[in-house]
């Protein structure tokens, strides 16, 4: 089911200052194509969870509309929207067994949709098979590991065959190894069911690795919607460039002058047809080429060896942040010693942004 958000806005009364409103979600417009896995990504407090709650119907928007397909669901309560929701803490009913948890949504069906006990059991076994928890049907949630509880929560959300599956930070309560495993699992389940799935995360790696599309948010504002690789290779603004990628992108105060980009007094890049002005220049860690006569001269701090590649940590007067981190393949890195280190920049790994608006300067 396609999900469309139209001018979606959610404002809250401020808890601290009376009469002041906080805008959690500001004028969202986007369309989530049918059957895709979408990652809502942003730092905490950016309105990701609010967006999810608006789509689920647990919260009502201040203005704007939500469509599932062609159906306007803006004023429908959650149970009539046909959504499945998985909570960060799973919210499994602790006094019910796994099977009772899974059939709970089915028992709430009314009228013609009412199911027999046998039909509910069969349905529960079907989703249990999908998420691979059949051996645990008679356990209580507390007798299971976090990863298993997560699967039960997904099974409960899927049992009514929702049109949209919503997951709020689905992996944040799991340890690192389980997180990787469950991530793959999530992708597989989504592929097998074909349900349009939206999940919230603050972990860019998580979002990058399994999403078909990433929605990057900041302070209630939509920043960019794109394929994961594009958000990395083609950021729409300075925030997206800085938010995505580890190690973080290196940001310099720079200026365009006479068709060239200057960092400090050194011209590092040719740009044509741009008028002279101060800009932000950002360079991905892998965008540096270490060479004797490089255009950019940095003060060498230290070299960190990581096996496959080498991380050169240096400083520059025009940088923002603590240092400049560049990643160079181990075999290409000779012994880097001395006071300074010089680099040329790979043009495709350098992004320029307006000084004031921080919008991308397309070259």
């Amino acid at each position: 089911m396609k999900v469309v958000l139209e001018n979606l806005t959610k404002q809250y009364q401020s808890r601290n200052i009376k009469g002041q409103t906080v805008t959690a979600v500001n004028n969202f417009n986007f369309e989530i194509p049918d059957g895709q896995l979408i990652g809502l990504l942003g730092p905490s407090g950016c309105g990701k969870s609010t967006t999810l709650n608006l789509i689920s119907g647990l919260e009502t928007p201040t203005s704007g509309r939500i469509f599932f397909g062609d159906r306007d669901v803006t004023s429908l309560p959650p149970e009539e929207r046909g959504v499945g929701l998985v909570f960060q803490n799973y919210a499994l009913y602790p006094h019910l067994t796994v099977e009772e948890n899974i059939i709970f949504p089915l028992q709430n069906l009314k009228g013609a949709q009412k199911m027999t006990k046998e039909a509910m059991h069969a349905k529960a076994m079907e989703v249990a098979h999908l998420v691979q928890i059949e051996p645990y049907m008679h356990r209580k949630p507390r007798e299971m590991s976090g990863g298993q509880q997560q699967r039960v929560a997904i099974a409960r959300a899927l049992v009514k065959i929702p049109q949209v599956l919503l997951l709020d930070e689905p992996l944040s309560n799991l340890d690192a190894r389980l997180r990787l495993q469950t991530r793959e699992e999530l992708r597989r389940i989504q592929r097998e069911t074909g349900v349009t799935t939206i999940f919230v995360t603050h972990d860019q790696e998580e979002a990058m690795s399994i999403s078909d599309l990433i929605v990057v948010m900041k302070a209630g504002e939509l920043q960019q919607i794109d394929k994961p690789q594009n958000t990395y290779d083609d950021p729409a603004n300075l925030f997206v460039a800085q938010f995505l990628g580890t190690p973080q992108i290196n940001t310099f105060e720079a200026r365009i002058q006479d068709g060239r980009v200057f960092i400090g007094d050194e011209a590092v890049l040719e740009v044509s047809g741009q008028k002279d002005r101060p800009v932000w220049a950002t360079v991905r860690p892998e965008g540096f080429i270490h060479t004797e006569n490089g255009a950019l001269t940095c003060r060498l701090d230290r070299v960190e060896v990581m096996g496959r590649d080498v991380s050169v940590v240096s400083t520059h007067p025009a940088m923002t942040g603590r240092n400049i981190r560049t990643i160079i393949a181990a075999e290409e890195a000779p012994d880097i010693t001395g006071e300074t280190v010089r680099f040329n920049l790979k043009p495709g790994k350098v992004f320029l942004f307006e000084k004031d608006s921080e919008e991308r300067i397309r070259l």
Binding site: P77, P78, L85, H95, P105, N108
Partner: protein, 297 residues
């Protein structure tokens, strides 16, 4: 560990001494008194050993009346007060404005002196030479005749008694239940709403099981408290409860010791042990019953 055992005992000693002197010894003494026939405080003498005290107490019409009263009060007030408290607590937790104000108002009876509350009930129910009492004035509006709630028929007196007891025990229960309800993670309710559960189903399937340990605690302590009722009866009907026909088991024990007809520690001990046996049995049944029903998370 072994080596320091004496130290552990030393730490426990003060509590054990106090419990021993003020709890264990009197308990044993009560058992002994109950078996000593015609025991006399002053002369410390008795005429024989046996179960005569129990036989006497059980055939004493005053005791039978006290037993009947106590059971009625327990059977009426415990379920009613717990149920009503749950309703009020649910109401309190679903409103936002003025919640604290309401909580304070509902808690007031708990901090009010029993005798002061008793006085208020007198004004509500007692007929004097000057007035029939507030409640009777109200009943009269509907055309019903005046009822003497304090000195009249048994059912009227029992009604006042139960009304009073429920009213007095509710604040504590509301307080405990409100905090139990507040401690239920709201995500469960959100999940249930998304799953399409109706509010009554949410209550029976989620809220009640989640707070069942608290409800059960209130039922057990409610039973025990109601079986021990005495001071509330005195507050309404005065010290001569036998004459009013509103005595309770604890009241009977007190009368046997210190009342006008007092000075029979053996009968008092026997009655106290009978009460103990009743409370013990009921609590045991409660615990057994609750094993399958109460969800400890």
């Amino acid at each position: 560990m072994k080596k320091n055992n004496w130290k552990a005992w030393l730490y426990l000693l003060p509590a054990m001494v106090f419990l021993g002197v003020f709890m264990v010894y009197p308990l044993i003494d009560v058992c002994i008194y109950s078996l000593e026939e015609s025991y006399n405080f002053a002369s410390q003498s008795y005429t024989g050993v046996g179960l005569y005290n129990f036989r006497y107490v059980l055939s004493d019409p005053y005791f039978v009346r006290a037993l009947q009263n106590t059971f009625l009060i327990v059977a009426i007030t415990v379920p009613l007060s717990t149920g009503l408290s749950l309703l009020i607590a649910l109401g309190l937790s679903s409103i936002k404005p003025l919640r604290n104000a309401y909580q304070t108002i509902y808690f007031l009876p708990y901090v009010t002196n029993t005798l002061a509350v008793g006085l208020v009930f007198m004004i509500l129910f007692k007929r004097t030479a000057y007035t029939d009492g507030l409640i009777n004035l109200l009943i009269a509006k509907f055309g019903a005749g005046p009822v003497d709630f304090i000195e009249g028929p048994y059912w009227a007196k029992m009604f006042v008694m139960c009304f009073y007891t429920i009213w007095v025990v509710m604040p504590f229960k509301i307080l405990i239940l409100t905090s139990a309800l507040a401690s239920v993670n709201p995500d469960y309710y959100k999940a249930a709403r998304v799953d399409g559960a109706t509010s009554s189903r949410i209550f029976w399937k989620i809220t009640l099981p989640m707070i069942s340990p608290t409800v059960f605690y209130l039922i057990i302590t409610g039973f025990i408290g109601a079986f021990k009722a005495y001071s509330d009866e005195v507050a309404i009907f005065g010290t001569n409860l036998n004459a009013a026909g509103m005595n309770t088991i604890v009241g009977y024990v007190y009368d046997m010791l210190y009342g006008d007809s007092g000075g029979y520690p053996s009968y008092a001990a026997a009655a106290a042990l009978i009460l103990f046996a009743i409370v013990f049995t009921i609590t045991y049944i409660n615990l057994t019953f609750s094993k399958n029903k109460v969800q400890y998370m």
